[in-house]
Each structure stands twice: as structure tokens, then as C-alpha cells.
């Protein structure tokens, strides 16, 4: 499965510096061909709410990344690390152009001439959670499986699977529709095997090195964000000599997270705004406040 995915990625015939313009061409082609859905605010919802009840709480999500939003809230609720990885969207029905509702001054463009802003199309999920603030690893694994099953029942978006490593959980892609609408198996970009020289680096540089290694091996462009760039981050200059020898990127990332004294997690998003091969690895302190991730 992983090999199949890697082979398809390694067939990319273009040098890396052409990838961004090609991504734009890809997006424009999708839209000129009429594949992309009409833009609509309703297709671009992005909300996650936890409604507290006496016996159970209800998590209701309407988002282009419903499982990512669920993971953020579950981490804030139960304190476990739950990482999330986007599928590799290639079907135009899975994305939506939000330019008209998002880009300032869009109405000044002539019809059909405006820029595009492509993001995953929203879908809804709702799940009951126990009112208890403590959940065992097995119970959490079960809830995550429930979410994955729910998502699988949806006609759009990716299908996922749950992995557990130690007391951390990973929501990773399993299937997505290809350009023809057929469900095809996907493997995780973070299953990419990488090697890094063991040398002294700052923590941030380590994340960058991991992303760089994945980018090179998988022929993608992976950027890194550590928390929000405007948020104060203590001890951001910690040093480490973590290296890797033929190890999956996920495993190296897990070791990288352990460098920081604060519990950390990540989301790996396909930055569809920038093209089909662009990903953003967001490393962040684990959310501790449900309200802060209930935007």
C-alpha cells in the first residue's frame, strides 16, 4: 500500500521549483474544466462545538477537516496526544473554491477572472462523548474508531484509520477518491522512510529537517509551523541531537516532540490553496482549553 503510494508520488516529472506554478495550473484547470463546486459559504463551514449534557456531551463539527477538529477538542478534553494527517485530495468534489467569500475585493474581478482559493469541502460529524473528564486509552481508541467509521459513511472527504503508539494516537489517511471518483487506497505521508544525520540542532531546525527529508523523499513540499508564529513560545531554542536512520517520519516526529517539556502534537494539512503537493506540518502545544479550539 505504502509502496504503491510512493511510486505514484515518485513519478512526478517536474523539478521542485516548478511545483508551485504547476499547482496553480492544476487548480486553474480544475476550475476551468468546471469540476470544482460552486463556491458557497455553506461548503466552507469550519466549526467545532462541544455541547455539555448531564449524562454525555455532544461534539458537533462542520468542517473541511472534521477529524482534525475532533482531534483538537479530544486532546483538550482528555490530554492525550492525537495527531492528524490530511488525505491527499485529488477529486475536485472534495474541495471548494472559497475565493468569492474570502478574498477581499473579489467583486472587482470580471466573472471567471478572479483568483481561486481552494480548501477542503466541509462535512458534518456529531458524536456523543462521556461526561467524564477521564477516558482510558482503550476508551479513547474506541471513540476515535467511531469517528473514523462516521467519516467513512460520508460520500466525500477522506477515509481514515487510527494508529496507537504508546499513549499517543494518530489519525491517518486510508482512502480518498481519485480524479475519476473511485476510492483508492492512500498511505500516510509520514510513513515515508527518512534518514537524518545525528547532529546538534535547535528543536525548530529538527522539525524543518524532518519536513525537508519527507519533501525530498516523497516529492512534495512540506512547510513547518510551530504553534502560531505570533504566539509566545517558551524554550523555543532547545537543542537536540536527534537523528534518524531509515525510520518512518512519524516515528522521528514522535521523538522530536519529546524534546520539548510541554506535551506537543501535530496536524499535517494539505495546503490545497497552494497546490496538490503542498503540505503544512503544524507542530503545536497540546490544546488544554476546549474553548480555545472551539472556533
Amino acid at each position: 500500500m505504502a509502496n504503491q503510494h510512493m511510486e505514484s508520488k515518485s513519478r512526478h516529472p517536474f523539478p521542485s521549483h516548478f511545483r508551485t506554478p504547476l499547482a496553480w495550473i492544476f487548480i486553474l484547470a480544475l476550475l476551468i474544466g468546471g469540476y470544482a463546486r460552486a463556491d458557497s459559504v455553506s461548503l466552507n463551514a469550519d466549526s467545532a462545538k462541544l455541547i455539555y449534557g448531564s449524562d454525555s456531551d455532544t461534539l458537533t463539527i462542520d468542517s473541511g477537516r472534521p477529524l482534525m477538529r475532533a482531534a483538537l477538542i479530544l486532546q483538550a478534553l482528555y490530554g492525550y496526544v492525537i495527531t492528524y494527517e490530511d488525505p491527499w485530495y485529488s477529486n475536485s468534489d472534495d474541495v471548494v473554491d472559497i475565493a468569492p467569500s474570502t478574498i477581499k475585493g473579489y467583486s472587482a474581478f470580471k466573472p471567471g477572472n478572479g483568483p481561486k482559493l481552494i480548501v477542503p469541502r466541509s462535512s458534518q460529524l456529531s458524536i456523543k462523548l462521556p461526561a467524564s473528564k477521564k477516558l482510558s486509552q482503550d476508551e479513547l481508541f474506541g471513540r476515535l474508531q467511531d469517528l473514523v467509521k462516521l467519516q467513512k459513511s460520508k460520500p466525500r472527504g477522506g477515509h481514515f484509520q487510527v494508529l496507537q503508539t504508546g499513549d499517543s494516537f494518530h489519525i491517518i489517511p486510508a482512502e480518498a477518491r481519485d480524479r475519476n471518483g473511485n476510492w483508492s487506497t492512500q498511505s500516510s505521508l509520514l510513513d515515508t522512510v527518512i534518514s537524518l544525520p545525528q547532529e546538534d540542532r535547535t528543536e525548530s531546525k529538527l522539525y524543518l529537517a524532518i519536513a525537508g527529508a519527507v519533501s525530498a523523499a516523497a516529492k512534495v513540499s512540506m512547510t513547518v509551523v510551530v504553534n502560531h508564529p505570533l504566539s509566545y513560545s517558551s524554550k523555543s531554542d532547545l537543542h537536540t541531537n536527534v537523528g534518524a536512520s531509515n525510520e518512518t517520519a512519524r516515528s522521528v516526529l514522535m521523538r522530536a516532540l519529546s524534546v520539548h517539556p510541554t506535551k506537543r502534537t501535530w496536524t499535517l494539512m494539505q495546503t490545497t490553496e497552494s497546490g496538490p503537493n503542498v503540505f503544512s506540518l503544524n507542530v503545536m502545544d497540546i490544546p488544554t482549553n476546549v474553548a480555545a479550539v472551539s472556533y
Partner: protein, 347 residues
């Protein structure tokens, strides 16, 4: 042509470029160092129940009264069982950073009276003022040459008039290679009261924040989560420097690989500009932990960081600083179109 080449290089690099550098919205004063020290020694300091009412003037001259009580240092040293306490006049003192030395003699002898033989004739103390609050610390109290270690504390010191602050712009933090981090100097008021050595704490209480703290972010953004303000360590008020502290607001790092550059270019490319990151910063003056005085918010500063077509602007409490930074949205758009045209036509 030159511009197009530059833009092309920039856009080629953007998705691959990976930022480095520390991250902070409000990094605390770069002047924080080992030289930090508390500077105000006035007030009544309690040492083991004794009362040390000290003051010193602008010339460093100390004055005041020391009141010993039976159960205080006298009892701790244990040599004066008959002494029912006494008062001592400060006759000398010195200050070296956060350490103060004072000495006194029995008050009665200052005016020519006879010393009370049941009580020590000379008292002195070496006091070190500690942060936070500069209102507590370690002391060595000495009675006629016999010393004992004690802890001291005083009430959290605040002026009688309301505290406030004045913000002034001070350019960009280029000295530390942070060209998009705005430097502001804040002067705590009233300047007649010495806050030297104290820390101004900041907080961003959720219920005080603007309804929307990130107008750049858009739903299902594939690169950034929305910005939510968060506090960082306190701002040091320069010792004996007119109640001034520094508040740096913006991104750390420089160059096309920095997180700030990437964020600004990303949102310009996305077309959500002009847009801002907003926060309401509430300032309090530190006191020792567990001080019975309530913490008082003495200043509320709206913070606004704005990305516009070509400018990067930072404003603190209405005091703005702005600079041209990174390619404008117009340049980015023309760069993209130029590249697409070149790829399609080969020209």
C-alpha cells in the same frame, strides 16, 4: 525584469522555505539580565516581627526607625531576655543593586541619652530584595555583632495615585535581527514613584479579547490555525531608569525563511488582506506571591498587527509603527501571472 526574477525566486522558495527563529508576539524586554535589581527600599519591612521603617533619598541617604519587639530578632538571638523591645534610629546605610545595608543605634542615645543595657546598643541588617515584587527577600539581622538569618517582607508597594503608563514607539528590533518586531517603550506612571526592578505582567483574559482576534485566517485554512493571544513572562522595569520597560511586538527572525515573512506572504497571496491580529493586553504590576493585596490591572492596551498590500504595521495602545515589508500583493500576483505566462508560452 529584475523584480519579476526576484518574485519568481521568492515564490519558488515560499512553499519549501521553512522558518526558523524563536516565536513571540510580545517578547519581553531584551534588557533582562543579571543586572536586574530592585531599586526602591522605602517602606516598612517586617523582619521576624520587627519593623524596619526605611527610606532613602535621591542621594542614597538612609533614614528611618527600627522597632524591635520581644518576640522578634531579640528572641531569635536569645541574648536579651530582659529587653522588652526598643526603637533604633537609622544612622547609616548603603545600597548595592538589590542589597541594602542599614545600621542603627538606640534611639535614646542619639539625643545624648544612656543606652538601655538590657537591649542591644547597635543593630544592623543586610537585606536583599527579591523579585517578583521587590517586597520580600532574605536578611541578616545583627544585634551587637551577633547575626541571624531571617526572611523579610513588606506590603506590596504601590503609589497613592493611580498607576498608568505611556507608550512611545522605538522603531524595529533590527539590533537583534528581528526587522518585523516593533519595539515600544512604556513608562509606568507616576514617574515620581520608583517601580525599578519590578516586573509588569501581561495577561490576555479570554473574556476581554476582541470578538475576532485573527481577521487574516479563513475557514479550512491549510496552513495556519487562528491566532489566539497568550501571555508571556513579565516585562522588567529598568532599575533606576525612570520606570521604563520595553515591549517588543511582532515576529522573531529575518529573511525569506522566517516564520513571519512566510505568514505575511501567505496571507497576501491568499488575498485576505488587509487583515489584522488583535489582542487586548492587560497589564498588572507584580507583587510577591500570596500578597494579600489584589492584583490591579493598571493599563489595558489594544494591540493591532496589520498586514496590508505592502506594509506591516504594529500598534500598541493606538501608537502605530509601520514599514514596507516583503513583496506586495500586487507584486505577488504579477509574479504568479508572469510565471504562468512564461510556462505556457515559453517566453
Amino acid at each position: 525584469m529584475h523584480t519579476n526574477s526576484r518574485i519568481k525566486r521568492l515564490l519558488r522558495k515560499l512553499p519549501l522555505s521553512l522558518g526558523a527563529g524563536a516565536i513571540c508576539l510580545l517578547s519581553y524586554a531584551s534588557g533582562v539580565s543579571a543586572s536586574q535589581s530592585c531599586s526602591d527600599v522605602t517602606g516598612t519591612w517586617g523582619i521576624a516581627g520587627d519593623s524596619w521603617d526605611l527610606s532613602h533619598d535621591a542621594n542614597g541617604k538612609f533614614a528611618g526607625i527600627i522597632g524591635l519587639v520581644p518576640g522578634g530578632t531579640l528572641a531569635a538571638i536569645g541574648k536579651y531576655p530582659k529587653c522588652m523591645g526598643g526603637q533604633y534610629a537609622i544612622i547609616g546605610g548603603s545600597r548595592n543593586g538589590a542589597t541594602v545595608g542599614v545600621s542603627g543605634v538606640q534611639l535614646g542615645t542619639v539625643t545624648g541619652g544612656q543606652p538601655n543595657p538590657d537591649c542591644p546598643t547597635n543593630v544592623s541588617a543586610s537585606l536583599t530584595m527579591a523579585q517578583p515584587g521587590c517586597d520580600h527577600g532574605a536578611a541578616i539581622a545583627t544585634l551587637d555583632g551577633r547575626g541571624i538569618s531571617q526572611q523579610w517582607r513588606s506590603q506590596c508597594k504601590v503609589p497613592t495615585s493611580p498607576i498608568g503608563e505611556v507608550t512611545t514607539p522605538d522603531g524595529w528590533d533590527t539590533a537583534n535581527n528581528n526587522p518585523i518586531k516593533a519595539v515600544f517603550k512604556a513608562t509606568v506612571q507616576p514617574t515620581s514613584f520608583n517601580f525599578g526592578g519590578r516586573f509588569v505582567q501581561e495577561d490576555f483574559p479570554a473574556d476581554a479579547q476582541p470578538a475576532k482576534t485573527d481577521t487574516c485566517w479563513y475557514p479550512n485554512n491549510g496552513h495556519y490555525n487562528p491566532y489566539t493571544p497568550a501571555p508571556k513572562p513579565g516585562h522588567y522595569v529598568d532599575s533606576d531608569a525612570g520606570n521604563r520597560y520595553e515591549d517588543d511586538i511582532g515576529f522573531d527572525g529575518a529573511g525569506n525563511d522566517s516564520f513571519g515573512y512566510q505568514l505575511i506572504v501567505f496571507y497576501r497571496s491568499s488575498g485576505t488582506i488587509p487583515c489584522s491580529f488583535l489582542a487586548t493586553q492587560k497589564m498588572t504590576m507584580d507583587c510577591a506571591q500570596n500578597d494579600p493585596l489584589p492584583v490591579v490591572v493598571f493599563q489595558t492596551n489594544p494591540l493591532v498587527l496589520t498586514i496590508s498590500d505592502a506594509n506591516w504595521s504594529v500598534s500598541r495602545n493606538g501608537v502605530p509603527q509601520s514599514e514596507l515589508y516583503a513583496p506586495s500583493r500586487t507584486d505577488i500576483k504579477s509574479g504568479v501571472l508572469h510565471m504562468l505566462w512564461k510556462m505556457m508560452t515559453g517566453h
